[in-house]
Protein backbone atom coordinates (compact mmCIF):
# COMPACT_ATOMS: atom_id res chain seq x y z
CA UNK A 1 0.00 0.00 0.00
CA UNK A 2 2.59 2.51 1.10
CA UNK A 3 4.64 1.66 -1.97
CA UNK A 4 1.76 2.70 -4.24
CA UNK A 5 1.31 5.92 -2.31
CA UNK A 6 5.00 6.67 -2.62
CA UNK A 7 4.72 6.02 -6.34
CA UNK A 8 1.87 8.54 -6.36
CA UNK A 9 4.06 11.18 -4.69
CA UNK A 10 6.82 10.48 -7.19
CA UNK A 11 4.30 10.82 -10.00
CA UNK A 12 3.11 14.20 -8.74
CA UNK A 13 6.67 15.45 -8.28
CA UNK A 14 7.67 14.27 -11.77
CA UNK A 15 4.52 16.01 -12.98
CA UNK A 16 5.67 19.21 -11.26
CA UNK A 17 9.06 18.99 -12.89
CA UNK A 18 7.49 18.30 -16.28
CA UNK A 19 5.27 21.34 -15.82
CA UNK A 20 8.31 23.54 -15.22
CA UNK A 21 9.86 22.04 -18.35
CA UNK A 22 6.84 22.32 -20.60
CA UNK A 23 5.16 25.55 -19.44
CA UNK A 24 7.63 27.63 -21.42
CA UNK A 25 7.43 25.33 -24.43
CA UNK A 26 3.66 25.59 -24.37
CA UNK A 27 3.65 29.39 -24.09
CA UNK A 28 6.24 29.85 -26.83
CA UNK A 29 4.46 27.49 -29.18
CA UNK A 30 0.93 28.53 -28.26
CA UNK A 31 1.50 32.28 -28.26
CA UNK A 32 4.28 32.80 -30.79
CA UNK A 33 3.73 29.68 -32.95
CA UNK A 34 7.42 28.81 -32.65
CA UNK A 35 8.04 25.06 -32.28
CA UNK A 36 11.17 25.51 -30.21
CA UNK A 37 13.14 22.28 -30.30
CA UNK A 38 15.98 23.83 -28.27
CA UNK A 39 13.73 23.68 -25.24
CA UNK A 40 15.31 20.44 -24.00
CA UNK A 41 18.71 22.11 -24.48
CA UNK A 42 17.59 25.02 -22.29
CA UNK A 43 16.74 22.49 -19.57
CA UNK A 44 20.10 20.72 -19.86
CA UNK A 45 22.11 23.92 -20.18
CA UNK A 46 20.34 25.29 -17.09
CA UNK A 47 21.35 22.15 -15.18
CA UNK A 48 24.98 22.50 -16.31
CA UNK A 49 25.05 26.20 -15.40
CA UNK A 50 23.55 25.33 -12.01
CA UNK A 51 25.93 22.49 -11.21
CA UNK A 52 28.91 24.66 -12.14
CA UNK A 53 27.76 27.35 -9.72
CA UNK A 54 27.16 24.70 -7.02
CA UNK A 55 30.69 23.42 -7.50
CA UNK A 56 31.86 26.99 -6.90
CA UNK A 57 30.11 26.80 -3.55
CA UNK A 58 26.98 28.80 -4.41
CA UNK A 59 23.71 28.49 -2.58
CA UNK A 60 21.34 26.10 -4.42
CA UNK A 61 18.45 28.53 -4.91
CA UNK A 62 20.71 31.38 -5.94
CA UNK A 63 22.39 29.05 -8.45
CA UNK A 64 18.97 28.08 -9.83
CA UNK A 65 17.94 31.73 -10.22
CA UNK A 66 21.19 32.79 -11.85
CA UNK A 67 21.05 29.79 -14.20
CA UNK A 68 17.50 30.84 -15.15
CA UNK A 69 18.67 34.37 -15.94
CA UNK A 70 21.57 32.97 -17.98
CA UNK A 71 19.23 30.76 -20.03
CA UNK A 72 16.87 33.69 -20.52
CA UNK A 73 19.79 35.57 -22.07
CA UNK A 74 20.68 32.61 -24.30
CA UNK A 75 17.03 32.37 -25.35
CA UNK A 76 16.85 36.10 -26.05
CA UNK A 77 19.87 35.94 -28.34
CA UNK A 78 18.44 32.96 -30.25
CA UNK A 79 15.05 34.63 -30.62
CA UNK A 80 16.37 38.02 -31.70
CA UNK A 81 19.15 36.87 -34.01
CA UNK A 82 17.65 33.75 -35.59
CA UNK A 83 13.98 33.04 -35.00
CA UNK A 84 12.89 36.64 -35.57
CA UNK A 85 14.14 36.41 -39.14
CA UNK A 86 12.13 33.24 -39.71
CA UNK A 87 8.80 34.55 -38.40
CA UNK A 88 5.91 32.49 -39.71
CA UNK A 89 8.13 29.81 -41.29
CA UNK A 90 7.49 26.90 -38.97
CA UNK A 91 9.49 24.33 -40.92
CA UNK A 92 12.55 26.59 -40.99
CA UNK A 93 12.13 27.23 -37.27
CA UNK A 94 11.96 23.48 -36.58
CA UNK A 95 15.15 22.86 -38.55
CA UNK A 96 17.04 25.80 -37.06
CA UNK A 97 16.09 24.97 -33.47
CA UNK A 98 16.86 21.28 -34.04
CA UNK A 99 20.28 22.17 -35.47
CA UNK A 100 20.91 24.50 -32.56
CA UNK A 101 20.05 21.77 -30.07
CA UNK A 102 22.72 19.52 -31.64
CA UNK A 103 25.25 22.35 -31.48
CA UNK A 104 24.45 23.09 -27.84
CA UNK A 105 24.74 19.38 -27.02
CA UNK A 106 28.20 19.30 -28.64
CA UNK A 107 29.33 22.41 -26.79
CA UNK A 108 28.13 20.95 -23.47
CA UNK A 109 30.02 17.72 -24.16
CA UNK A 110 33.15 19.77 -24.81
CA UNK A 111 32.80 21.92 -21.68
CA UNK A 112 31.37 19.49 -19.12
CA UNK A 113 32.59 16.13 -20.47
CA UNK A 114 30.74 12.87 -21.09
CA UNK A 115 30.13 11.66 -17.54
CA UNK A 116 26.94 12.33 -15.63
CA UNK A 117 27.37 14.98 -12.95
CA UNK A 118 25.21 14.24 -9.94
CA UNK A 119 24.24 17.02 -7.63
CA UNK A 120 22.62 17.21 -4.25
CA UNK A 121 19.43 18.80 -3.09
CA UNK A 122 19.94 21.81 -0.84
CA UNK A 123 20.98 20.91 2.71
CA UNK A 124 17.99 20.33 4.94
CA UNK A 125 15.88 18.93 2.09
CA UNK A 126 17.93 15.82 1.44
CA UNK A 127 16.28 13.47 3.89
CA UNK A 128 12.85 11.98 4.09
CA UNK A 129 9.74 13.25 5.79
CA UNK A 130 7.65 10.79 7.79
CA UNK A 131 3.96 11.59 7.34
CA UNK A 132 1.63 9.16 9.11
CA UNK A 133 3.28 5.79 8.60
CA UNK A 134 4.86 6.63 5.27
CA UNK A 135 8.24 8.20 4.64
CA UNK A 136 8.26 10.72 1.80
CA UNK A 137 11.43 12.04 0.15
CA UNK A 138 11.43 15.69 1.25
CA UNK A 139 12.94 17.18 -1.89
CA UNK A 140 10.28 15.70 -4.16
CA UNK A 141 7.59 17.34 -2.07
CA UNK A 142 9.45 20.64 -2.39
CA UNK A 143 9.50 20.26 -6.19
CA UNK A 144 5.71 20.00 -6.12
CA UNK A 145 5.44 23.20 -4.09
CA UNK A 146 7.79 25.05 -6.46
CA UNK A 147 5.80 23.92 -9.49
CA UNK A 148 2.54 25.10 -7.93
CA UNK A 149 4.05 28.48 -7.02
CA UNK A 150 5.45 29.00 -10.54
CA UNK A 151 2.20 27.88 -12.14
CA UNK A 152 0.29 30.42 -10.05
CA UNK A 153 2.81 33.18 -10.80
CA UNK A 154 2.66 32.53 -14.57
CA UNK A 155 -1.13 32.47 -14.48
CA UNK A 156 -1.26 35.77 -12.60
CA UNK A 157 1.21 37.31 -15.03
CA UNK A 158 -0.78 36.25 -18.08
CA UNK A 159 -4.32 36.79 -16.83
CA UNK A 160 -4.08 39.58 -14.27
CA UNK A 161 -1.45 42.07 -15.47
CA UNK A 162 -1.36 44.64 -18.24
CA UNK A 163 1.69 42.91 -19.74
CA UNK A 164 -0.29 39.66 -19.83
CA UNK A 165 -3.20 41.40 -21.57
CA UNK A 166 -0.76 42.87 -24.10
CA UNK A 167 0.65 39.40 -24.77
CA UNK A 168 -2.86 38.04 -25.36
CA UNK A 169 -3.75 41.04 -27.53
CA UNK A 170 -0.67 40.33 -29.68
CA UNK A 171 -1.83 36.73 -30.07
CA UNK A 172 -5.42 37.71 -30.90
CA UNK A 173 -4.52 40.16 -33.68
CA UNK A 174 -0.85 41.03 -34.06
CA UNK A 175 -1.31 43.77 -36.68
CA UNK A 176 -4.07 45.51 -34.73
CA UNK A 177 -2.05 45.25 -31.51
CA UNK A 178 0.83 47.05 -33.21
CA UNK A 179 -1.49 49.74 -34.57
CA UNK A 180 -2.74 50.17 -31.00
CA UNK A 181 0.83 51.00 -29.99
CA UNK A 182 1.75 47.66 -28.39
CA UNK A 183 5.37 46.71 -29.12
CA UNK A 184 4.49 43.15 -30.04
CA UNK A 185 8.00 42.26 -31.14
CA UNK A 186 9.48 43.25 -27.78
CA UNK A 187 6.70 41.52 -25.89
CA UNK A 188 7.23 38.26 -27.78
CA UNK A 189 10.93 38.41 -26.94
CA UNK A 190 9.94 38.71 -23.28
CA UNK A 191 7.71 35.62 -23.63
CA UNK A 192 10.52 33.66 -25.26
CA UNK A 193 13.05 34.66 -22.58
CA UNK A 194 10.57 33.83 -19.84
CA UNK A 195 9.86 30.39 -21.32
CA UNK A 196 13.60 29.72 -21.64
CA UNK A 197 14.23 30.92 -18.08
CA UNK A 198 11.63 28.59 -16.59
CA UNK A 199 13.14 25.65 -18.53
CA UNK A 200 16.66 26.52 -17.30
CA UNK A 201 15.35 26.86 -13.76
CA UNK A 202 13.68 23.45 -14.11
CA UNK A 203 17.01 21.95 -15.16
CA UNK A 204 18.56 22.97 -11.84
CA UNK A 205 15.50 22.01 -9.80
CA UNK A 206 15.42 18.61 -11.52
CA UNK A 207 19.16 18.06 -11.02
CA UNK A 208 18.99 16.36 -7.61
CA UNK A 209 16.49 13.88 -9.10
CA UNK A 210 17.83 13.37 -12.65
CA UNK A 211 21.47 14.58 -12.37
CA UNK A 212 22.85 16.13 -15.55
CA UNK A 213 24.41 14.19 -18.43
CA UNK A 214 24.89 14.34 -22.19
CA UNK A 215 21.55 13.37 -23.74
CA UNK A 216 19.44 14.90 -20.97
CA UNK A 217 18.12 17.36 -23.56
CA UNK A 218 16.99 14.55 -25.84
CA UNK A 219 15.35 12.75 -22.91
CA UNK A 220 13.36 15.82 -21.85
CA UNK A 221 12.24 17.29 -25.19
CA UNK A 222 9.89 14.40 -26.12
CA UNK A 223 8.33 14.58 -22.66
CA UNK A 224 7.65 18.29 -23.16
CA UNK A 225 6.13 17.53 -26.56
CA UNK A 226 3.81 14.87 -25.15
CA UNK A 227 2.74 17.11 -22.30
CA UNK A 228 1.92 19.99 -24.61
CA UNK A 229 0.11 17.80 -27.14
CA UNK A 230 -1.96 16.26 -24.34
CA UNK A 231 -2.77 19.51 -22.59
CA UNK A 232 -2.99 21.77 -25.62
CA UNK A 233 -0.64 24.60 -26.54
CA UNK A 234 -0.76 28.04 -25.00
CA UNK A 235 -2.73 26.83 -22.00
CA UNK A 236 -1.08 26.79 -18.58
CA UNK A 237 -3.86 24.62 -17.17
CA UNK A 238 -3.34 22.21 -20.07
CA UNK A 239 0.41 22.06 -19.40
CA UNK A 240 -0.25 21.43 -15.69
CA UNK A 241 -2.75 18.61 -16.25
CA UNK A 242 -0.74 17.13 -19.12
CA UNK A 243 2.33 17.06 -16.85
CA UNK A 244 0.44 15.29 -14.07
CA UNK A 245 -1.00 12.71 -16.47
CA UNK A 246 2.46 11.97 -17.89
CA UNK A 247 3.96 11.91 -14.39
CA UNK A 248 1.52 9.18 -13.37
CA UNK A 249 1.75 7.21 -16.63
CA UNK A 250 5.54 7.27 -16.44
CA UNK A 251 5.84 6.07 -12.85
CA UNK A 252 3.02 3.53 -12.75
CA UNK A 253 3.77 2.37 -16.28
CA UNK A 254 7.36 1.57 -15.39
CA UNK A 255 6.32 -0.48 -12.39
CA UNK A 256 3.33 -2.26 -13.89
CA UNK A 257 4.44 -2.76 -17.49
CA UNK A 258 8.17 -2.05 -17.55
CA UNK A 259 8.62 -3.39 -21.07
CA UNK A 260 5.85 -1.14 -22.45
CA UNK A 261 6.97 2.16 -20.88
CA UNK A 262 7.24 4.10 -24.13
CA UNK A 263 4.02 2.73 -25.54
CA UNK A 264 2.22 3.87 -22.42
CA UNK A 265 3.77 7.33 -22.77
CA UNK A 266 3.21 7.88 -26.45
CA UNK A 267 -0.10 6.10 -27.03
CA UNK A 268 -2.17 8.85 -25.34
CA UNK A 269 -0.36 11.38 -27.54
CA UNK A 270 -1.36 9.50 -30.68
CA UNK A 271 -4.96 9.23 -29.53
CA UNK A 272 -5.17 12.94 -28.71
CA UNK A 273 -3.62 13.90 -32.04
CA UNK A 274 -6.17 11.74 -33.86
CA UNK A 275 -9.30 12.61 -31.93
CA UNK A 276 -8.71 15.98 -30.27
CA UNK A 277 -5.84 17.70 -32.07
CA UNK A 278 -6.17 20.96 -30.11
CA UNK A 279 -5.34 19.03 -26.92
CA UNK A 280 -7.45 18.78 -23.78
CA UNK A 281 -7.32 22.52 -23.06
CA UNK A 282 -5.88 24.01 -26.25
CA UNK A 283 -6.19 27.72 -26.91
CA UNK A 284 -5.86 27.38 -30.68
CA UNK A 285 -7.34 24.93 -33.09
CA UNK A 286 -4.50 24.14 -35.50
Amino acid sequence: MSQWLLLGVNSVSLGGLLFLLSAGFSLIFGLMRIPNLTHGSFFMLGAYFGVTLLQLGWNFWLAALVAAVGIAAVGGVIERLLLRRLAGQELAQVLVTLGLSFMIADLCLMVWGGDPIPFDAPPGLRGALPIASIVFPTYRLVVVVIAVVIAAALWLLLERTRLGAMIRAGVDDEAMARVTGIRVSRIFTIVFCLGAAVAGFAGVIGGPILSVYPGLDGDMLPLALIVVILGGTGSLLGALLGSLIIGFLYNYGQVLFPELAYIILFLPMLLILLFRPQGLFGRHVP
Binding site: R162, R168, A169, D173, A177, R178, V179, G181
Partner: protein, 239 residues
Protein backbone atom coordinates in the same frame (compact mmCIF):
# COMPACT_ATOMS: atom_id res chain seq x y z
CA UNK B 1 0.15 77.89 -43.03
CA UNK B 2 -0.04 75.40 -40.20
CA UNK B 3 0.82 71.81 -40.97
CA UNK B 4 -2.04 69.48 -41.75
CA UNK B 5 -2.94 66.96 -39.05
CA UNK B 6 -2.42 64.14 -41.51
CA UNK B 7 -1.27 64.23 -45.07
CA UNK B 8 -0.63 61.59 -47.71
CA UNK B 9 1.46 62.92 -50.56
CA UNK B 10 2.00 61.07 -53.84
CA UNK B 11 1.42 57.63 -52.31
CA UNK B 12 2.09 54.56 -54.46
CA UNK B 13 1.19 51.31 -52.76
CA UNK B 14 1.14 47.71 -53.93
CA UNK B 15 -0.32 44.41 -52.78
CA UNK B 16 2.11 42.07 -54.49
CA UNK B 17 2.11 43.21 -58.11
CA UNK B 18 -1.23 44.93 -57.86
CA UNK B 19 -0.83 48.71 -57.92
CA UNK B 20 -3.63 49.63 -55.50
CA UNK B 21 -2.81 53.29 -54.78
CA UNK B 22 -1.50 55.41 -57.63
CA UNK B 23 -0.16 58.78 -56.59
CA UNK B 24 -2.77 59.38 -53.91
CA UNK B 25 -2.55 62.74 -52.13
CA UNK B 26 -4.97 63.93 -49.51
CA UNK B 27 -4.79 66.10 -46.44
CA UNK B 28 -6.78 66.35 -43.28
CA UNK B 29 -6.76 69.81 -41.72
CA UNK B 30 -6.50 70.05 -37.95
CA UNK B 31 -9.89 69.85 -36.27
CA UNK B 32 -11.64 68.83 -39.49
CA UNK B 33 -13.48 65.72 -40.54
CA UNK B 34 -12.34 64.47 -43.93
CA UNK B 35 -14.71 62.04 -45.62
CA UNK B 36 -13.10 59.45 -47.86
CA UNK B 37 -15.51 57.91 -50.34
CA UNK B 38 -15.24 55.41 -53.14
CA UNK B 39 -16.58 52.14 -54.43
CA UNK B 40 -15.53 48.81 -52.96
CA UNK B 41 -11.94 48.18 -53.94
CA UNK B 42 -11.21 51.83 -54.68
CA UNK B 43 -8.36 51.85 -52.14
CA UNK B 44 -9.95 53.45 -49.07
CA UNK B 45 -8.87 50.82 -46.56
CA UNK B 46 -5.47 50.67 -48.24
CA UNK B 47 -5.06 54.39 -47.51
CA UNK B 48 -5.74 53.60 -43.85
CA UNK B 49 -3.22 50.75 -43.83
CA UNK B 50 -0.59 53.01 -45.38
CA UNK B 51 -1.26 55.78 -42.86
CA UNK B 52 -0.97 53.53 -39.79
CA UNK B 53 2.17 51.86 -41.14
CA UNK B 54 0.81 48.37 -41.84
CA UNK B 55 1.50 48.75 -45.56
CA UNK B 56 4.67 50.73 -46.28
CA UNK B 57 4.18 52.81 -49.45
CA UNK B 58 6.59 52.24 -52.31
CA UNK B 59 6.66 55.95 -53.04
CA UNK B 60 5.31 59.07 -51.41
CA UNK B 61 5.17 60.39 -47.89
CA UNK B 62 2.81 60.24 -44.94
CA UNK B 63 3.11 63.09 -42.43
CA UNK B 64 1.53 63.65 -39.05
CA UNK B 65 1.50 67.36 -38.14
CA UNK B 66 4.35 67.90 -40.59
CA UNK B 67 6.50 65.07 -39.26
CA UNK B 68 7.26 62.26 -41.70
CA UNK B 69 5.96 58.95 -40.33
CA UNK B 70 6.00 56.71 -43.41
CA UNK B 71 8.69 54.07 -43.07
CA UNK B 72 8.20 53.85 -39.32
CA UNK B 73 6.63 50.74 -37.75
CA UNK B 74 2.94 50.87 -36.74
CA UNK B 75 3.65 51.00 -33.00
CA UNK B 76 5.91 54.04 -33.47
CA UNK B 77 3.27 55.83 -35.54
CA UNK B 78 0.65 55.05 -32.89
CA UNK B 79 2.94 56.63 -30.27
CA UNK B 80 2.97 59.84 -32.32
CA UNK B 81 -0.76 60.21 -31.97
CA UNK B 82 -2.48 58.27 -34.75
CA UNK B 83 -5.27 55.84 -33.85
CA UNK B 84 -7.43 53.57 -35.99
CA UNK B 85 -10.95 52.24 -35.62
CA UNK B 86 -10.55 49.50 -38.19
CA UNK B 87 -13.01 47.96 -40.57
CA UNK B 88 -14.67 44.99 -38.91
CA UNK B 89 -13.75 46.52 -35.51
CA UNK B 90 -11.01 43.95 -34.77
CA UNK B 91 -11.32 44.18 -31.01
CA UNK B 92 -9.14 41.75 -29.05
CA UNK B 93 -11.75 39.03 -28.73
CA UNK B 94 -10.22 36.96 -25.92
CA UNK B 95 -9.55 39.98 -23.70
CA UNK B 96 -12.12 41.48 -21.38
CA UNK B 97 -13.72 44.79 -22.32
CA UNK B 98 -11.63 46.53 -19.70
CA UNK B 99 -8.40 44.91 -20.91
CA UNK B 100 -9.14 45.97 -24.49
CA UNK B 101 -9.09 49.53 -23.22
CA UNK B 102 -6.18 49.35 -20.78
CA UNK B 103 -3.74 47.73 -23.24
CA UNK B 104 -4.26 50.74 -25.51
CA UNK B 105 -3.82 53.41 -22.82
CA UNK B 106 -1.14 56.02 -23.54
CA UNK B 107 -0.34 59.31 -21.93
CA UNK B 108 -1.68 62.21 -23.95
CA UNK B 109 0.80 63.58 -26.48
CA UNK B 110 1.60 67.23 -25.81
CA UNK B 111 -1.17 69.31 -27.31
CA UNK B 112 -4.01 66.86 -26.73
CA UNK B 113 -7.05 68.81 -25.64
CA UNK B 114 -9.19 66.21 -24.00
CA UNK B 115 -7.28 63.55 -22.08
CA UNK B 116 -9.00 60.17 -22.33
CA UNK B 117 -8.89 57.78 -19.39
CA UNK B 118 -10.71 54.56 -18.59
CA UNK B 119 -13.27 56.57 -16.62
CA UNK B 120 -13.77 59.04 -19.46
CA UNK B 121 -14.37 56.22 -21.96
CA UNK B 122 -16.80 54.51 -19.57
CA UNK B 123 -18.61 57.83 -19.10
CA UNK B 124 -18.90 58.25 -22.86
CA UNK B 125 -20.03 54.65 -23.40
CA UNK B 126 -21.92 53.54 -20.27
CA UNK B 127 -22.68 50.16 -21.82
CA UNK B 128 -18.96 49.35 -21.85
CA UNK B 129 -18.77 50.16 -18.14
CA UNK B 130 -21.58 47.71 -17.44
CA UNK B 131 -19.81 44.97 -19.38
CA UNK B 132 -16.21 45.71 -18.45
CA UNK B 133 -15.51 42.22 -17.10
CA UNK B 134 -17.03 40.43 -20.08
CA UNK B 135 -14.95 38.77 -22.76
CA UNK B 136 -15.04 41.19 -25.67
CA UNK B 137 -15.76 38.48 -28.24
CA UNK B 138 -19.24 38.04 -26.75
CA UNK B 139 -20.31 41.68 -27.20
CA UNK B 140 -22.95 42.64 -29.76
CA UNK B 141 -21.82 44.33 -32.97
CA UNK B 142 -22.78 47.78 -31.69
CA UNK B 143 -20.98 47.25 -28.41
CA UNK B 144 -17.91 46.02 -30.26
CA UNK B 145 -17.96 49.21 -32.32
CA UNK B 146 -18.14 51.31 -29.15
CA UNK B 147 -15.25 49.30 -27.77
CA UNK B 148 -13.18 49.78 -30.92
CA UNK B 149 -13.77 53.54 -30.70
CA UNK B 150 -13.02 53.56 -26.96
CA UNK B 151 -9.82 51.60 -27.53
CA UNK B 152 -8.68 54.11 -30.15
CA UNK B 153 -9.45 57.01 -27.81
CA UNK B 154 -7.52 55.43 -24.92
CA UNK B 155 -4.29 56.18 -26.78
CA UNK B 156 -5.20 59.88 -26.64
CA UNK B 157 -4.77 60.34 -30.38
CA UNK B 158 -4.35 63.62 -32.21
CA UNK B 159 -5.72 62.08 -35.40
CA UNK B 160 -8.41 59.41 -35.55
CA UNK B 161 -8.96 57.16 -38.57
CA UNK B 162 -12.36 55.47 -38.79
CA UNK B 163 -12.93 52.76 -41.37
CA UNK B 164 -16.62 52.10 -42.05
CA UNK B 165 -17.85 52.62 -38.48
CA UNK B 166 -21.51 52.17 -39.51
CA UNK B 167 -20.98 48.86 -41.30
CA UNK B 168 -23.39 46.15 -40.22
CA UNK B 169 -25.00 48.14 -37.41
CA UNK B 170 -28.66 48.77 -36.65
CA UNK B 171 -29.88 52.31 -37.51
CA UNK B 172 -30.15 53.54 -33.92
CA UNK B 173 -26.60 52.33 -33.21
CA UNK B 174 -25.39 54.10 -36.35
CA UNK B 175 -27.00 57.28 -35.04
CA UNK B 176 -25.17 56.79 -31.74
CA UNK B 177 -21.84 56.28 -33.50
CA UNK B 178 -22.43 59.39 -35.60
CA UNK B 179 -23.22 61.56 -32.59
CA UNK B 180 -20.04 60.26 -30.98
CA UNK B 181 -18.04 61.34 -34.02
CA UNK B 182 -19.70 64.76 -33.92
CA UNK B 183 -18.78 65.13 -30.25
CA UNK B 184 -15.16 64.15 -30.93
CA UNK B 185 -15.02 66.71 -33.69
CA UNK B 186 -16.33 69.39 -31.35
CA UNK B 187 -13.51 68.50 -28.97
CA UNK B 188 -11.07 69.35 -31.72
CA UNK B 189 -10.02 65.87 -32.82
CA UNK B 190 -9.01 65.57 -36.48
CA UNK B 191 -10.88 62.66 -38.07
CA UNK B 192 -10.51 60.78 -41.34
CA UNK B 193 -13.79 58.99 -41.97
CA UNK B 194 -14.16 56.22 -44.52
CA UNK B 195 -17.75 55.28 -45.24
CA UNK B 196 -19.97 53.55 -47.77
CA UNK B 197 -22.88 55.54 -46.39
CA UNK B 198 -22.57 58.76 -48.40
CA UNK B 199 -25.31 60.60 -46.53
CA UNK B 200 -23.49 60.13 -43.23
CA UNK B 201 -20.29 61.48 -44.67
CA UNK B 202 -22.02 64.57 -46.07
CA UNK B 203 -23.65 65.16 -42.67
CA UNK B 204 -20.33 65.11 -40.84
CA UNK B 205 -17.46 65.98 -43.12
CA UNK B 206 -15.90 69.36 -43.83
CA UNK B 207 -13.99 68.05 -46.80
CA UNK B 208 -14.49 65.13 -49.14
CA UNK B 209 -12.07 63.03 -51.15
CA UNK B 210 -13.33 60.44 -53.62
CA UNK B 211 -11.12 57.58 -54.75
CA UNK B 212 -11.64 55.57 -57.88
CA UNK B 213 -9.40 52.63 -58.80
CA UNK B 214 -6.59 53.85 -56.58
CA UNK B 215 -6.62 57.49 -57.73
CA UNK B 216 -8.10 60.63 -56.25
CA UNK B 217 -10.84 61.78 -58.60
CA UNK B 218 -12.51 64.43 -56.45
CA UNK B 219 -11.11 66.53 -53.63
CA UNK B 220 -13.23 69.41 -52.44
CA UNK B 221 -15.12 70.88 -49.52
CA UNK B 222 -18.35 69.18 -48.60
CA UNK B 223 -20.15 72.46 -49.18
CA UNK B 224 -19.02 72.69 -52.79
CA UNK B 225 -20.05 69.11 -53.42
CA UNK B 226 -23.40 69.58 -51.75
CA UNK B 227 -24.02 72.49 -54.13
CA UNK B 228 -24.03 69.76 -56.73
CA UNK B 229 -21.40 70.89 -59.15
CA UNK B 230 -19.91 67.42 -59.45
CA UNK B 231 -21.68 64.30 -60.59
CA UNK B 232 -21.18 61.95 -57.64
CA UNK B 233 -22.94 59.10 -59.42
CA UNK B 234 -20.14 58.96 -61.92
CA UNK B 235 -17.64 58.10 -59.17
CA UNK B 236 -19.63 56.22 -56.62
CA UNK B 237 -21.97 54.13 -58.71
CA UNK B 238 -25.43 53.27 -57.58
CA UNK B 239 -26.61 54.58 -54.22
Amino acid sequence: MADDALSLAGIDAFYGDSHVLQGVSLSLAEGHVLGLLGRNGAGKTTCMNVAVGLLPPRAGRVSLFGEKVSGRPPEAIAMRGLALVPQGRRIFRSLSVRENLTVAARKPVAGARHPWTLDAVFAAFPRLAERQRQTAGYLSGGEQQMLAIGRALMSNPRVLLMDEPSEGLAPQIVAEVMSTIRRLKEQGLSILLVEQNVKLVFDLADDIVILNSGRVVVSNTAGELRAGRIDLHQHLGVF
